[in-house]
């Protein structure tokens, strides 16, 4: 009994006849990472099944079926990526980066407009949003560029180059307009640069520039009559500072989300939930799904979900340290930063402490592009983990 368990936990490196698990590579994967991701998407499907029964007339499981399919496809994608050596992406960085920028740009030409914003292609059965997958692609490409250019140019030149490479696709996304995803691109860029060793002084300058830009965009530009943000964007960004009773107002939505979560108390209201069932909270299957969880399942449910994210991000950070090479470190750092940023901003928005930016909650929010892209990111993490384990094995073996 003990022996069996010990073998499972730490595979026998000298196995002459590898078992089925060994062949599938399972012992080299990060089980907690895979399980937390799968648990989150399962929780998402479970929540959607209870909360969106009446959303699409005639098909009570519209969102559930689709989210379940995206989840299964995502898990498959994760597994396939696990088996690929992520280091190949470093060689493909230019191609990846080109594909990233072109796919985002094509949305402007062929994109499907929803609510005044062109973000996705309408494919049969699926509307594909390139900027979601773009988050992972940006991590892969940017990490490659950082490694590649580590010895060319001065520190400042490199910092500016990374910034430009990261912010170019962010600007494209911003013009769709999709402020939230653009901010995620920015966060990814900063995370990769941070792990990549960009100097603290440079971050200080970037931070100062960011503050100056925020002031310029929110205060100065409207004052001189050339607003950069659309009215609703500006309203959303500042709404968490002033809750409002006007249903047409962004502050109202945020306040309603807050009421929804608060009303869940410790154990939740289950089917007696009203805030998220009666449309007081908008976008309950996407951006505000955390409010649904908070109201339906209370502190127990919401804390469970937060804990799963904590686990996910902890595993990602752990993989940063495990990586067999610097490229893996940078990629894992970028992905960890991306996940942390998205979770904090989305949950913070639901809890009324962050502005409304339209950032989905990874794996929880309904949406194929987002679910698939997150699983791809987790798959890349798994690949880094697996390569690290294999190289350890190798060290022992050879």
């Amino acid at each position: 009994m003990y022996a069996t368990r010990a073998r499972r936990a730490r595979p026998e490196p000298f196995a002459v006849h590898p078992g089925i698990a060994e062949r599938l590579g399972l012992p080299y994967m990060d089980g907690s990472l895979a399980l937390s991701a799968a648990a989150l998407v399962a929780f998402s499907v479970f929540t959607l099944a209870q909360a969106t029964k009446h959303d699409v007339p005639g098909s009570p499981y519209y969102y559930v079926d689709r989210q379940a399919i995206y989840g299964v496809l995502g898990i498959i994608a994760m597994y396939l990526l696990t088996r690929i050596d992520y280091s190949r992406f470093r060689e493909l960085r230019v191609g990846i980066y080109t594909f990233l920028c072109v796919s985002i740009s094509l949305v402007f030409v062929f994109g499907f407009a929803a609510r005044g914003s062109r973000r996705s292609f309408e494919l049969p059965f699926f509307s594909f949003q390139p900027s979601e997958l773009g988050k992972v692609l940006l991590v892969l490409a940017l990490a490659g560029f950082v490694i590649d250019g580590a010895r060319s140019g001065s520190d400042w030149q490199r910092t500016v180059r990374y910034l430009c490479l990261g912010l170019a696709p962010a600007a494209l996304v911003f013009m769709q307009p999709d402020l939230g995803t653009a901010l995620v691109f920015g966060a990814i860029t900063l995370a990769v640069m941070y792990v990549g060793g960009v100097r603290w002084t440079h971050f200080a300058v970037i931070g100062a520039a960011f503050v100056a830009m925020t002031v310029a965009v929110l205060v100065l530009a409207p004052a001189v009559g050339t607003p950069v943000l659309k009215g609703y964007q500006e309203q959303r960004l500042t709404s968490f500072l002033h809750p409002s009773a006007d249903p047409s107002d962004a502050g109202y939505q945020q306040n309603q989300a807050k009421i929804a979560i608060g009303s869940g108390e410790k154990t939740g209201r289950g089917d007696r939930a009203t805030q998220t069932r009666l449309n007081f909270v908008p976008e309950r299957h996407t951006d505000f799904i955390f409010a649904v969880i908070g109201e339906r399942y209370g502190f127990m449910g919401a804390a469970l979900v937060l804990s799963l994210y904590a686990l996910l991000i902890w595993r990602a950070l752990r993989i940063v340290t495990l990586s067999k090479n610097s490229y893996g470190t940078l990629v894992a750092g970028g992905i960890a930063g991306m996940l942390l940023f998205q979770v904090f901003v989305n949950v913070g928005m639901n809890l009324g402490i962050m502005p409304i930016t339209g950032i989905p909650l990874p794996l929880m929010s309904y949406g194929g592009s987002s679910v698939l892209a997150t699983f791809v990111a987790v798959g890349v993490l798994q690949s880094i983990h697996m390569q690290a384990r294999l190289s350890q094995k190798g060290r022992f073996a050879w």
Binding site: A260, G262, T274, A310, L340, L351
Partner: protein, 622 residues
């Protein structure tokens, strides 16, 4: 991020380790913020947000309850209800486009004979009080307008009609001032404790018994609480509470509809302003109480036109005023009952004392003459009352001028003080006294202090005296019943829809006055002779009345007016059950106009009823 050193990847160096430790620290901090915030919202403040969520999703609608009926003492309906249609606008269903909205409201204003400005103001005010609730534009709209709106529904989106209850008055103007009307509560009344729980726009009784007994009549509105979504639309199966409206209880009055009708018909036949009251001398139950001119209470069930406002509120004849309880009149000789009581009880007069009447009483160079210039010679009290000799009572008034006896007895009998009647608007009146006038004089509000002349005037119901039929009826009843000052009332009992008595009103007397039975009998004898003795002042009217009565005429002089006619009668004599007091402004001599109205009332009370049923006097009249 604890790792065994052999697990650490080869890419790690010291600088990166520091950076990653910081990265992990940031992640821990951010998650800590989220967990704390979640704890604050759900565990610490959860109750507050749950209450907000519950409040968010419910809307309550009130359905008005019909008011209780008002019945006379025999169960005859005086006030009932009918349903009417009210025109409402649901602001949420009005066109969103401002131009279309404007056009629709303009069409509505025209149809309801209003102006667009007024309509918008109504909507604005109502919506401030109850956001998103339908606004009532007009009560009691005609059926033709409703049909027109229904046929043209597409041109009037958001316009609805709702059934509401309005008051119906089967007897038209009968007892209008007594009954009062129903109207919307005003903001000041909303703050009164007795209207606790009412909302703006609710109907309450205005004036009359509708006001006094509003609490019983009002009923409780039905409540429907439904669950709504964020747009305020009802959700399926979302009915949370449904409480049907509870109709108000019925109010049975002590009024006898036939007696009331007889009195009002008598007043109307004279065509002069005035008031009357008929009251049970023992219980204070009011059998009839009316005032002329009168009005249609049904008028108030729909908005008044400008002409109607002029006619009711700004009419010098004041049809809304109840002259029986709110009049300010001198009483003329009807006051002599009180003067006689005061004189007898204070000992200055005995039934056998004679006073010489030479046609005038002179004091301090001023001469007070008998009415009509008569001189009756030497008289005792009974004949003095029979012929209503003025000099006799001038003498008594002069003898009591500074003793306060007359004021003491008048006050004890309820003159110039609140009566405790269950009707709003009853006045106190004024009983002139030495103290009162001297006080005024001291303050410089009158040119002379109290004098003998003032008391001589009061002894015959003249001068500064201001009272009304209600107070005089109480005074007469007090003597007739031997000293009990009754609390006059019109409310008799409250019954539910099935007729079960829920509450009976029998207010205790205001007080008791000790009166010598001899005083009572000699005065009643004098009044009986005055009504039915051969030389009595109202013999011409009551001489042939089959029931023995005791009645007194009064002819009051009012500055700027022709003489006011008074008649107060106790019946049956010698043990009266009821008192009737009638006054008619500018009606002349008491027997001329007031006494005939009193006769009409007594006929209705004693004879019409005696033939119809056992009658109000229990089958043993007189």
């Amino acid at each position: 991020m604890y790792l065994r050193s052999d697990e650490r990847g080869p890419a790690m160096n010291k600088r990166l380790t520091v950076r990653l430790a910081l990265f992990g620290g940031i992640a821990v901090a951010l998650f800590a913020i989220l967990f704390l915030r979640l704890w604050l919202l759900q565990v610490l403040d959860g109750e507050k947000y749950l209450a907000e969520a519950k409040n968010n999703r419910t809307r309550s609608f009130l359905t008005s309850a019909p008011r209780g009926k008002i019945l006379d003492r025999n169960g005859k309906v005086l006030v009932a209800n009918r349903t009417s249609l009210a025109l409402q606008v649901n602001p949420r269903k009005l066109p969103v486009d401002p131009a279309q909205r404007h056009a629709e409201l303009a069409r509505l204003a025209e149809l309801t004979h209003s102006t667009l400005k007024r309509l918008r103001r109504t909507m604005h005010e109502e919506l401030k009080l109850a956001p998103a609730a339908p606004v009532t534009l007009r009560q009691d709209v005609g059926h033709d307008l409703v049909y027109y709106l229904q046929e043209n529904q597409d041109r009037f989106p958001g316009v609805e009609t709702q059934r509401v209850f309005v008051r119906a008055y089967p007897d038209g103007t009968l007892a209008a001032q007594l009954l009062g009307s129903v109207g919307e509560i005003d903001p000041k009344e909303l703050k009164e404790p007795r209207f606790h729980g009412l909302r703006p726009g609710d109907k309450i009784g205005q004036e009359g018994v509708e006001d006094t007994y509003d609490h019983y009549l009002r009923g409780r509105p039905g409540l429907t609480r439904i669950q709504v979504d964020a747009l305020g639309e009802p959700t399926p199966n979302g009915r949370l509470v449904s409480k049907p409206p509870a109709p108000g209880d019925n109010l049975k009055l002590s009024i006898n509809e036939e007696v009331q009708a007889a009195g009002e018909a008598g007043m109307a036949a004279r065509g002069l302003p005035g008031g009357f009251i008929t009251m049970d001398v023992h219980s204070g139950e009011i059998l009839a109480l009316g005032s002329f001119p009168t009005f249609e209470p049904a008028l108030f069930t729909r908005p008044l036109t400008q002409a109607q406002v002029e006619e009711t509120y700004n009419n010098p004849a004041a049809p809304l005023t109840d002259r029986a309880t709110a009049g300010y009149y001198p009483t003329g000789s009807t006051f002599k009952l009180i003067t006689a009581t005061a004189a007898l009880e204070s000992g200055i007069l005995t039934p056998s004392r004679s006073i010489f009447d030479g046609g005038a009483y002179t004091v301090g160079g001023e001469s007070f003459k008998n009415a009509g210039g008569a001189a009756y010679g030497s008289l005792t009290l009974v004949p003095a009352l029979e012929v209503s000799d003025d000099v006799f009572f001038y003498t008594l008034g002069a003898e009591m001028w500074d003793t306060g006896q007359l004021q003491h007895w008048a006050h004890a009998f309820g003159i110039g003080r609140p009566s405790g009647i269950d009707l709003p608007g009853a006045v106190e009146g004024l009983l002139p006294s030495q103290h009162w006038r001297n006080q005024l004089y001291k303050e410089g509000n009158t040119e002379r202090p109290w004098s003998v002349g003032d008391n001589i005037q009061l002894a015959t119901g003249q001068g500064d005296l201001q009272t009304n039929p209600l107070q005089m009826a109480i005074a007469y009843a007090t003597l007739a019943n031997g000293g009990t000052v009754v609390t006059p009332h019109v409310g008799k009992e409250v019954t539910d829809a099935a007729g079960r008595v829920l509450k009976e009103f029998a207010p205790p007397p205001q007080r008791h006055v000790k009166i010598n039975p001899a005083t009572r009998s000699v005065i009643l004898e004098g009044l009986h002779d005055a009504a039915q003795g051969a030389s009595g002042t109202s013999y011409a009217v009551f001489g042939g009345f089959p029931t023995p009565v005791a009645g007194k005429t009064g002819t009051a002089q009012r500055v700027g007016h022709a003489d006011q006619s008074w008649y107060i009668v106790l019946a049956p004599y010698p043990n009266p059950k009821i008192v009737t007091a009638v006054t008619i402004e500018e009606g002349g001599f008491g027997a001329e106009s007031a006494a005939p109205v009193a006769l009409d009332i007594l006929e209705a009370y004693f004879h019409k009823h005696a033939t119809a049923s056992a009658g109000p006097n229990g089958g043993s009249p007189g």
